[in-house]
Symmetry: C2
């Protein structure tokens, strides 16, 4: 994986199609290779790394190309601290879903007070505030009105996990730190979501599974149809 | 909110547009109202509740209409236990993202061993297994190859949260239990994701934020340039 790969080799090494690579080049997500001959560019390890990062941001993070570009621009801007860069990434990730409404706005005020009560140093426009407000409003709409108190356990848990995750980021070099921070933000979120769902299934099985109906596992949807 | 609402009133109470309600009626997501006159149907509280549930599943859970229908069909099938119903919901939620590939398949085998080592009672085709495998493969692609051991902390956390959440579901009546289980699965996931992002920002601030050109903490990148 030394210097001087042609685009076909870059494609093989990175596992991205040549057309995807060319698209990223056109869109400015991937920096141009070194011109090695007329109409021929040489790519190197930095291109492979960049492609991997784009892949994580789009596939695992679900970012649109425009949002990926915003994050990549922030990476290129070396005046930004790692903290500022993570802020850009969080804005690109956005709130989990968009569900505006009066009740979400009211919930948002409660969320702001809740975040303040936690003593968390979070910008006022952090999109995750809206994400939490939407969750609170959704609970309320569903008749499960428990206020932000219901999130206290989750907040403590999130606090512990985040402290550990941020501590995990290497100090330097900047490129490594940036990549670890971005990949970690996106990938551990996906992992946590997956693990919670698996654990829910496990505890649901322990509490609700009917022992005598073992055989019907997985046959739910099809049984209902036949 | 007694019996006998016209569609306009149902719209006002549920905060869904009349055209959305009619769409759900056509698609069979919402049960027909009682025919109160030719060309006129009367809706009741059950329609309001159903609309709220659809809203949570689509807005917070991000489910497509076809997936919502699958979940709603499972609710109607009273032979399904709550555990089986949750299984249907988890299948509808699917893996966080789809990113197939050889490395994901290899990761999937590791994930299966990991889940077994946790002693979790989870169906072999639970989509969250793939979600976790994708996260593991993404970490590996990014050069952060730590194996499933890196997820142990998250698994323990998820296990604690899930035990609490499942314990929170009322035993009966079935309708209440079902709604609490579905809403909880979707909403607390969104809340946990939002809280983790907020906590990450907080801990990133503590570790990396540059305190107005003063101490050395976090000042690496920009100081190196100036």
């Amino acid at each position: 994986m030394s210097t001087g790969m042609r685009v076909g080799e870059l494609s093989r090494v990175s596992n991205e199609s040549v057309s995807t690579i060319k698209y990223y080049l056109r869109e400015g997500l991937l920096h141009r290779g070194e011109q090695s001959a007329p109409n021929q560019a040489a790519y190197d390890e930095s291109h492979v790394r960049r492609l991997r990062l784009i892949r994580v941001l789009t596939d695992v993070g679900g970012l649109a190309v425009a949002d990926v570009r915003e994050v990549l621009d922030a990476i290129s801007d070396e005046t930004l601290s790692l903290h500022e860069l993570l802020g850009v990434a969080h804005h690109a990730l956005g709130p989990a879903r968009a569900a505006p409404g009066d009740d979400v706005e009211r919930a948002r005020e409660e969320v702001d007070r809740f975040v303040e009560s936690l003593g968390w140093d979070v910008t006022p426009d952090a999109p995750a505030r809206s994400g939490l407000a939407e969750a609170l409003a959704a609970l309320r709409r569903s008749g499960l009105d428990l206020g932000t108190a219901v999130f206290e356990r989750y907040a403590k848990t999130a606090d512990r996990l985040a402290a550990w995750e941020i501590g995990f980021i290497p100090e330097s070099p900047r490129r490594t730190a940036v990549e670890a921070a971005l990949v970690g933000t996106v990938v551990f979120e996906a992992a946590l979501v997956a693990l919670r769902r698996l654990a829910l299934e496990h505890h649901s099985a322990r509490r609700f599974k009917q022992p005598r109906r073992r055989a019907t596992r997985g046959g739910r949807a099809s049984r209902a149809k036949t």
